[in-house]
Amino acid sequence: MKTMLTVISNALCRITGKNVGAQTVPELLIDLSEYVNLTSPAAHASAQAQRQPPKPPPVSTRSSAASQLARAQLDQLDGPGARVAVTRNFADFTPQVTFDIKKCDLHRLEAGPPVKAELTREQGLQYYRTMQMVRRVELKADQLYKQKIIRGFCHLYDGQEACAAGIEAAISPSDHLITAYRAHGYTYTRGVSIRQILAELTGRKGGVAKGKGGSMHMYAPHFYGGNGIVGAQVPLGAGIALACQYRGNNQVCVTLYGDGAANQGQLFETFNMAALWKLPCVFICENNKYGMGTAVERAAASTDYYKRGDFIPGLRVDGMDVLSVREATRFAADHCRAGKGPIVMELQTYRYHGHSMSDPGVSYRTREEIQEVRSKSDPISLLRERMLSNNMASAEEFKEMDVEIRKEVDDAAQFATSDPEPPLEDLCNHVFSNNPPLDVRGTHPWSKLKSVS
């Protein structure tokens, strides 16, 4: 134990340029707490207690050995040694900060997205709010499912929030988006209220699809679901991109799929046609490491999903960092808008829940693994820590937002559990669009039901 502490303290000293052995380890850790992403409650408390303007970062570069010892996530923070441009104003919050973000792995691309991302205070708060809202909605859905108020399939998105938030930050509402069944996050970012989302999950008439679709079939303008058949949404997305090209409107279609769907044949058919016709389609693989209960190594001969487009350029992106996702998506969308054809993005991400609510999610992965991701790579925590350590917002602000968001979600859940179910008269409606009313056979010949558009 003592040896381990010594190793740790030596490493921390090298990182920060302090003299090895000059302080005891506990003193060292406290001193270094502003540089290190400590997510335990105790660390938060101590950090808040000593809230002062952060010291200017040391100019010295890190030794490579220390870099290797440092956790991957430390790189992501506006940490010491990183070259950071900061506008400082000690009286107010910092209005804008430029952060270093991870360089993307590239496939058939000379250059990738920028390695720096600008974040304004407003943007930060907005991304935080979006991600936290998705998080809380998903947890509420978990709760409602366990109470049997939500039935059937429920595939939760918690852990992956940076993907939905980052993508939406990079595109405009006039762009298009389609995804698979883990869709609640995107339904929200594409503009559906959480009331309508939760009420759709509980199967009420106030749901976005009037209770007729459920978890996997929610729609909004320029959002095409919510698709239950694995991989089927990928050709659909390319078709939407074809419509954009056909109309010459400079819009793109973001077409999402998972690491499991990446092995579907129809994806390769779609890649071929999208490349052939230069469709403005951003294909995005959300690689959360598991296709249901099957780890990627057991399903794919090549887990380099960003290369699977073969002749289509690709990039692999840290999907837990909302800024990385944003910059990469912007880069990808620009690529398409410039008429260069489709592009494939792999977002490396993680889901805390199992595949769906019927999967505990611990038979094929360890609780330790889940906990490690939660503590080191949680997208919401990463953003909050970044903003706090750069004085872009206060902990109180975040707390207030959390309380507000919880209340909104509770209110929405209240609506979703009290709204009535759709009336039986609606049973046969919406079979056809723009059609005169027609008769529908019921369960027996005397049951003659009516269907209107």
Binding site: A209, Y219, A232, Y246, G265, V431, P445
Partner: protein, 343 residues
């Protein structure tokens, strides 16, 4: 320069047009009328269509509106459905409907069900068209009739034209329809000329989907059929007329939604019903007609059980003599009518 087949008539009156040309005219007119309409499929553009149905269209409308696809049914059917979701009006051609099986998930789960699942938020205005059923000598994998499979599914309209007027009027209606329509053509009918009325030559001529047509009036027995076998029924009716048996021949035109009312009205007059189709008997179009007639008002007017004349319940063989005996012949219809009438 070549233009799609159209006989420009200065004088009024009917004109002879093959089913192929009627389909071509329908697509040409709808492409011209609405710039959201486009055609995609294998060989539809530069090859002029595997069966020449889209002859001349690529030359007239170009790459943007007439799109050659690779051999990727599931992929391009999905692309077509996506384009429809985004507001275009695609015509997705399957070289034959046998190949639509590779794409059937996109037809059913992405196209047919979406308007319902979205409670009206997302319409899918698409036409899937191509030859269906048996051809000549193409053997088992290329001869299946898909009328029953597609007509089983709510959210789809399924249309099966017989003659040139049917082909043109129904295809125009299908393209203008805001819903997914499966349009089942027949390869053996493409080259057959039919007289087309003056009305049917108008650019606004459409035939409503969901309405059957009485091709021949009669009092003794009702023959109900679709596609190529309507012609067989009319041939049988001509022979039977010489023996004093007058058949009423109904051309369904639409399989789903089926015009059961026309069948019932006819049965209430003739008291006898024979269905004729090229597809297999089990769970087929004729089976559905039997069930519907039994459940409805016409049952009490039947003097005999309904008879189904269908394809033989086997995969289609290749040898000509075997193939000929795998599908209903005119003599089978005549025999069945006489059995039903007990004469």
């Amino acid at each position: 320069s070549w233009t799609p087949s159209r006989k420009h008539q200065r004088t009024s009156g009917p004109v002879e047009v093959t089913v192929r040309d009627a389909l071509n005219q329908a697509m040409d007119e709808e492409l011209e009328r609405d710039e959201r309409v486009f055609l995609m499929g294998e060989e539809v553009a530069q090859y002029d269509g595997a069966y020449k149905v889209s002859r001349g269209l690529w030359k007239k409308y170009g790459d943007k509106r007439i799109i050659d696809t690779p051999i990727s049914e599931m992929g391009f059917a999905g692309i077509a459905v996506g384009a429809a979701m985004a507001g275009l009006r695609p015509i997705c051609e399957f070289m034959t409907f046998n190949f639509s099986m590779q794409a059937i998930d996109q037809v059913i789960n992405s196209a047919a069900k979406t308007y319902y699942m979205s409670a009206g938020l997302q319409p899918v205005p698409i036409v899937f068209r191509g030859p269906n059923g048996a051809s000549a000598g193409v053997a088992a994998q290329h001869s299946q009739c898909f009328a029953a499979w597609y007509a089983h599914c709510p959210g789809l309209k399924v249309v099966s034209p017989w003659n040139s007027e049917d082909a043109k009027g129904l295809l125009k209606s299908a393209i203008r329809d805001d819903n997914p329509v499966v349009f089942l053509e027949n390869e053996l009918m493409y080259g057959v000329p039919f007289e087309m009325s003056e009305d049917s030559q108008s650019k606004d001529f459409t035939i409503p989907i969901g309405k059957a047509k009485i091709e021949r009036q009669g009092n003794h027995v009702t023959l109900v059929s679709h596609s190529r076998f309507v012609g067989h029924c009319l041939d049988a009716a001509a022979v039977l007329a010489k023996e004093g048996i007058e058949c009423e021949v109904i051309n369904l035109r639409t399989i789903r939604p089926m015009d059961v009312e026309s069948i019932e009205t006819s049965v209430m007059k003739t008291n006898h019903l024979v269905t004729v189709e090229g597809g297999w008997p089990q769970f087929g179009v004729g089976a559905e007609i039997c069930a519907r007639v039994m459940e409805g008002s016409a049952f009490n007017f039947l003097d005999a059980p309904v008879t189904r004349v269908t394809g033989v319940d086997i995969p289609m063989p290749y040898a000509k003599i075997l193939e000929d005996h795998s599908l209903p012949q005119v003599k089978d219809i005549i025999f069945s009518v006489k059995k039903t009438l007990n004469v």
